[in-house]
Structures are given as C-alpha cells and as structure tokens.
C-alpha cells in the first residue's frame, strides 16, 4: 500500500494499555485528506481511545501518531494546541457544556483559539447553526435540546473552527434512523464542501456503507481489517465480515 503525501492521519504501530488491558495493540492505519474512515468494532475495543489519541487527549504507550504531517509525540502544549485547532471532535453524547447556552458553547472555541472579533464570531456561529439546522436555537441551554438536536449542536461546535479533520464518536447512536441519516448527510456535506477528512466511530452499518471510503475494524485492540467497504466485507476475519454485513 503506497502512502500518498496527502495523508491526514497516520498511526504507526500504536499501542495503548490501561493497566493490564490493552485497548490498542500495534495498530497502523492512515487516512487521506478528504476521505471518510469508519472505525468499527465491538464495544470497548479502543475505538474512542483512537479518537482521543488523535486529539492528543491521551498519549500512546508506544508507536507514532502523525496528524497533518506533525508527529504528536514531539509537540509541546503550544504545538498540540495548533494541531487541535485543525481538528473537530463530535463527542458521543455531544458533551455540550451544560452551564452555557448553545451560542456560548460555540463561542468558546472561537474565543479561545482564534482572534476573531465579536462580529466575526457572531457571524460564524450564525452560519454554522444554520448549516446544522439550529438557526433559531442559539439562546437555548443544552438541557432544552432533544437528542438529535444535541448531536447537531455538538457537530456545530466541532465544525465552528473549520477543521481539516473531523472526529465523530458514534454520531448516530441513540437516534432513530431518520435522524441518524440526517446527521450522516451533514457529515458527508462537510467532506464534499470543505474537503474535510472524517474519522467516524460507529455501529451503524447502514451509515457506514453510505459514507465510508475506508473502514477499519478493531477487535480486542487488534486492527483486524482495514480497507474499502468491499475489501472489509470480504475480509478473512470473521468479526469484520459480521460487523459490516447488513
């Protein structure tokens, strides 16, 4: 497999363990800019950990993680901050700040990580909220939003910095199929309009088949399959085949 210079994220032999339990075992994978990678696997197999390692919220025990041509291991806090600015993270339950309104939730990253003026921030938030279909809800607190709206709000917050790479942790979990497919649409639109690279942790096979350019399957810390949807569907690994089967 050749590695193009257009690589967005690359794992080289990454290992991560919590105590005795290995959640990532010598994992190597990569993703090109503008592609969607779906991470599949049974619960508790290190999918979320993979995202957190990319976000530099956790450090791997060994191996290298390259994000947008930077090796995270060699970066200072300031350097990590610069990398994080290029990343958007949609958390599993959106992880909106309960004590802030929707507007404030979106304004916080802009205020902290950019030098935008108040007008620019207002303008940006307005556009992002319109894009996810929450244009009229900016003054609401997260507790007043439904599950689907929270997911959209979380997505809006992840997108507000115009990330080059978007990480999404189970974007369709807990949602009905219609709402889930709406979220998938939004993710696809990011990819198409902005050339964003996406890494999506999901259990939703339907969604995966719709959006994924690449699929990686993790099982008990091991990367058991990595390739296009068709390649994984014909994988020798039993778990991978069963996960991707409709």
């Amino acid at each position: 497999m050749t590695i193009s210079p257009n690589i967005a994220v690359q794992f080289k032999n990454v290992t991560k363990a919590f105590g005795e339990k290995r959640v990532l075992n010598d994992v190597s994978l990569h993703l090109e800019q503008g592609q969607v990678l779906c991470l599949l696997g049974r619960s508790g197999t290190g999918k979320s950990v993979t995202l957190k390692i990319i976000m530099a919220l956790m450090r791997p025990d060994s191996g290298e993680v390259w994000v947008d041509h930077e090796n995270l291991a060699g970066l200072s806090e300031r350097g990590l901050s610069a990398v994080r600015k290029k990343l958007g993270y949609l958390f599993q339950d959106a992880a909106l700040f309960d004590s802030l309104t929707l507007y404030e939730n979106l304004a916080l990253p802009l205020k902290r990580l950019t030098n935008k003026s108040k007008e620019e921030i207002d303008d940006k938030i307005h556009h992002v909220l319109l894009a996810v279909g929450l244009g009229s809800d900016s003054a609401k607190y997260p507790s007043a939003l439904s599950g689907g709206m929270r997911k959209r709000a979380g997505l809006a917050r992840a997108l507000v910095l115009d990330p080059k790479i978007l990480l999404a942790d189970e974007p369709s979990s807990g949602l009905d199929r219609i709402t889930a497919s709406e979220i998938d649409e939004l993710l696809l639109r990011c990819k198409e309009q902005h050339g964003t690279a996406l890494i999506v942790v999901t259990h939703d096979v339907h969604g995966t088949r719709r959006i994924a350019d690449r699929v990686a399957v993790l099982d008990r810390g091991d990367l058991v399959a990595f390739g296009s949807v068709e390649e994984v569907a014909q994988s020798e690994n039993d778990v991978a085949r069963r996960l991707i089967a409709e």
Partner: protein, 256 residues
C-alpha cells in the same frame, strides 16, 4: 491494598490536588469570567440559605441562653453572649457546614457529570487547561464567598437574637447593639471570619477532587457528591480545632 493504605493514598492524592490548586491559582491565565460565574453559584445562591438559617439559629440561641442568664441576673449579658458565640464560632462553623452541604455536593456532582459526559475532554480538546478552567475558579469562589457568607450568617444571627430578645424584654436596637459589641475584640471578629477562607478552600478542593477525578461514569456522580459533603464537613470541623489553636496562639488574649 489495605484499608489504611487506601486512606493514606487518598490523603496524598487530595493533598497533591490541593497543592496543584494553590499553584495554579497564582499562574496565568486567570479565568476571571469563570470565577465570576462560580461566585454567583456559590455566593449569591447560598445567601438565602445562610441568612434564614442564621436568623433561626440566632433566635433559638437566645431562647436557650436567656433563661440561664436571667437566673444568674446576667440579663444584660444576653446580647454579648449572642454576639460572641456567633462571631467567634457558630457563624463560621455553621456557614462552613451549610456551604459544604450545598456547594460541596454541587461541585462534586457537576464535575463528576462533566467527566462522565466527556465535557472535560471537550474542554481539553479546545486546548483549555480544564483544571484551571473548572477547578481553580470553583475553589477560589469558595475561598472568597465563605467569609462573606459568614458575615451574612453572623449578622442574621444577631438580628434573630435581637428580635427574640426584643419580644421578651423590649430592648432597644441601640442598646442591644451596644451591649453586643461591648465585649467583642478585633481578634474575636476578624480572625474567625477570615478562618472561613480555609474552610472555603477545603470545601472547594475536596469536592472538586472527588468530582474531577471520578472515572465511574454516571454512577460516579452520586458517589462524588456524597463523598464531597462527608469529607469536606469532617475536614472543616477538624481544621476548626487547629485554626482556633492558631488564633489563640496569634491572639493570646482571646483565649480565656
């Protein structure tokens, strides 16, 4: 690990956590907006609780001490007893315990919930130091608010005592106030009020510790809240003993 080993480990962790709070409190960037938000949460929202309890406690105190003092012909001492007991001990300690209950559980639960719902990760993902953003403002808010709340408690207690006494003996407010402060020294007022800043630090750092370091998901929320209240209240009472000894050492004339 043995039971005592776990206790020592917890003490060590809380100690290190508190030390980190102290160091981070004096290191920029300062989260002023967060501090103000927490002050509103800790201070303003506790005023009603503090004032009403202080008032009721003051009234009850006078009802109890009045009989005894009148028996010994020391009715003139009622305001002084009220003022000294409130300013020296009841005000600071009860305000501390009430705040440990109200705010300690709140901080523990909120932080544990933020941990469980990945809000703390979300903050970290914005390159914001979540410790400085969440913990330090909460501890500082407790340190600042508790002495002020103690003053509310003291004066509410005095007011309760006055009304209770006025109903019994028709004493005038001026006379009550004069007698109340007659035997009060600087050290009876300032030192006990300022010692509550230490109580505030205990409440803030202990409850933040339990909330911030939990890793048990939703189940950890209730646990963190309970631990926060129990440990903070216990430490306040123990610290009170030490602080009073310190005050006696610094102002020998307050020890009788």
């Amino acid at each position: 690990m043995s039971w005592s080993g776990r206790v020592f480990e917890s003490v060590g962790k809380v100690g290190a956590f508190s030390a980190r709070v102290l160091m981070d409190a004096f290191r920029p960037p300062f989260e002023i907006a967060q501090l103000s938000r927490q002050l509103a949460e800790v201070g303003n929202k506790s005023i009603a609780l503090i004032v009403v309890s202080g008032f009721a406690l003051g009234a009850v105190m006078t009802l109890h001490t009045r009989n005894t003092l009148v028996t010994f012909g020391a009715a003139a001492m009622i305001p002084a007893v009220q003022a000294v007991s409130f300013f020296v001990e009841i005000g600071p300690l009860v305000a501390g315990l009430l705040l440990a209950g109200r705010v300690g559980s709140g901080i523990g639960a909120v932080l544990a919930n933020m941990r469980a719902s990945e809000q703390i990760d979300a903050i970290e993902s914005l390159s914001i130091d979540s410790f400085k953003f969440l913990v330090v403002p909460r501890v500082l808010a407790c340190v600042i608010a508790l002495p002020l709340l103690t003053l509310f408690m003291d004066f509410a207690g005095l007011l309760g005592g006055f009304l209770s006494e006025a109903l019994a003996s028709r004493i005038s407010p001026e006379l009550y106030l004069n007698r109340a402060f007659e035997n009060l020294q600087w050290s009876n007022f300032i030192a006990p009020t300022l010692k509550t800043a230490v109580f505030g630090f205990i409440i803030g750092s202990v409850s933040s510790y339990f909330g911030f370091t939990t890793n048990k998901g939703a189940k950890g929320v209730g646990e963190a809240a309970t631990n926060s209240v129990v440990i903070a209240s216990l430490l306040i009472i123990v610290a009170d003993v030490l602080l009073i000894k310190c005050i006696f050492f610094l102002f020998p004339d307050t020890a009788i």
